[in-house]
Amino acid sequence: MHLIPQSWSHLHMLVSVFPSFGLVCVLGFYVAGLLADNIAAKRTCLVLFAGLGLLSIPIYLSGAGSMAALSGSSRFTKAAMDAHYIWGVAALVALVITGVGAVVALALSGSAGRASRDTLRVVLGLGVITLGVLIAADGWELVHRELQSTVVIPDVSTPPIWPHVHIILNHAPTVGWAFALAFYVVALVANDDLMKRGSLILFVICAILGVPTYVTGTASMWALTQPPIPEISKAVINAHRDMALWTLFGLAFTGLASWFELWRHRHLGRFSKLSLTLVMVFAVITLGIMTETGHRGGQVNHPEIRVATEILPTDPQAGISMAIESLMTSMVWFVPWQIVHFFGYCLIFGTAFAVLLRVLGFWKSVSFAAVHRLLLLGVLGVLMNVFSGMLMLLADSYRYLNDVTFGPKIALIAIGAVVALYFSASNRLWNLKPGEDAPAAAKWVAGVVVLAWAGVIVCGRLLNYL
């Protein structure tokens, strides 16, 4: 476990992912804090903005150190390094300005914790601008030249868009998790219910994003090993894939425990200490597994971070993923889980349609709180389908991932699940009494959710036929 960076490049890779994805999480929480006028959420976000600004120091130093160390390597072109350096410095300057703005807002807020609305809005604007510059400064093209490959062999190659999406997407659940955990700790210490709900929602979103991350990872394996690319080892990828499978379980446990607590809180009006502790335990364990997964993922295509004492896997047939693959090729195992998958869809679509009927006004005599109970069935359906879907994918992943409808199916799963969180988060919807009209936003959301899940079913059924 060489998780402690032993080179500038390794340190740079680790710290430089935090500002971009971290800023998305902090901005999301900050906007929620501003809308709800929650002092604890606003102050926590201002502290995190300042922390991200401070992070610019190790990012700059490790970046400069990496440039010096790798300038002689044929893997890295000078033009690409110079372009990344210029945009990187611009992004770090923007990050520092946002951090200074956050410190000023904190200082102005004084002991009462209330900064002026204009000051807070300036920090929000600075954060959004910084995020834009950070995206422009992305340095993936420096080392991921395989993503620019134009060589396509019919029935052999997997589109390079999959690994491209994977290297972007995998940071969302990982960095997002670290920030969700930070918010959660503050929420528990401050005993702030809004922050607790916000952190639990962030855990659920990260768990949902874990699904497309895992799927794009499996596709990346095919894209990078068939046809083979020198320097990239299937055995190293399999070691990463095995850990990713455990991460998926960790995300599922924490995401489910978080959602159950959100659901229970709606009905009981209070949080259970035991459940909150359970979420914390799951989240910390998952963070540990995720860290090792990320480290193993970094070993796939970053020879510059490997150390001489590190022994890399060499057997491409070893590991739990390969064992599941070989088991699931048997119809005795595949068909039962396929039937579970169909039952899961019945639960998901039935729940989404029931909510749509109430929100559109066809079941007006029912309060939304009554319909809210049904959401549990839909969530269990999602759990059943993520597990059975993962098993079915491993049965013949190359064929599924190269099917034209598989990508849209996975994207629609993420959209359908994330948007459906509105039903658990909206106070206005929760307070909808029998006979009352739902807000227009809820009608749109319910429509999107039903269409997304209908699309998932259609895309899934069309696999192999287009």
Binding site: L268, M331, W333, V335, P336, F343, R373, L376, L380, M384
Partner: protein, 37 residues
């Protein structure tokens, strides 16, 4: 024989998964029933 194996596995797997799911729903609904909503 292979067909019978598939049918038996399908029944056992789905009975376990759905049984667990509906037990969870029952327990959670019981827990929130006291709220009256």
């Amino acid at each position: 024989m292979h067909g019978l194996e598939i049918v038996l596995m399908a029944i056992v797997t789905n009975a376990c998964v759905l049984g667990l799911a509906f037990f969870t729903v029952y327990q959670f609904n019981k827990a929130v029933s006291q709220s009256g909503r």
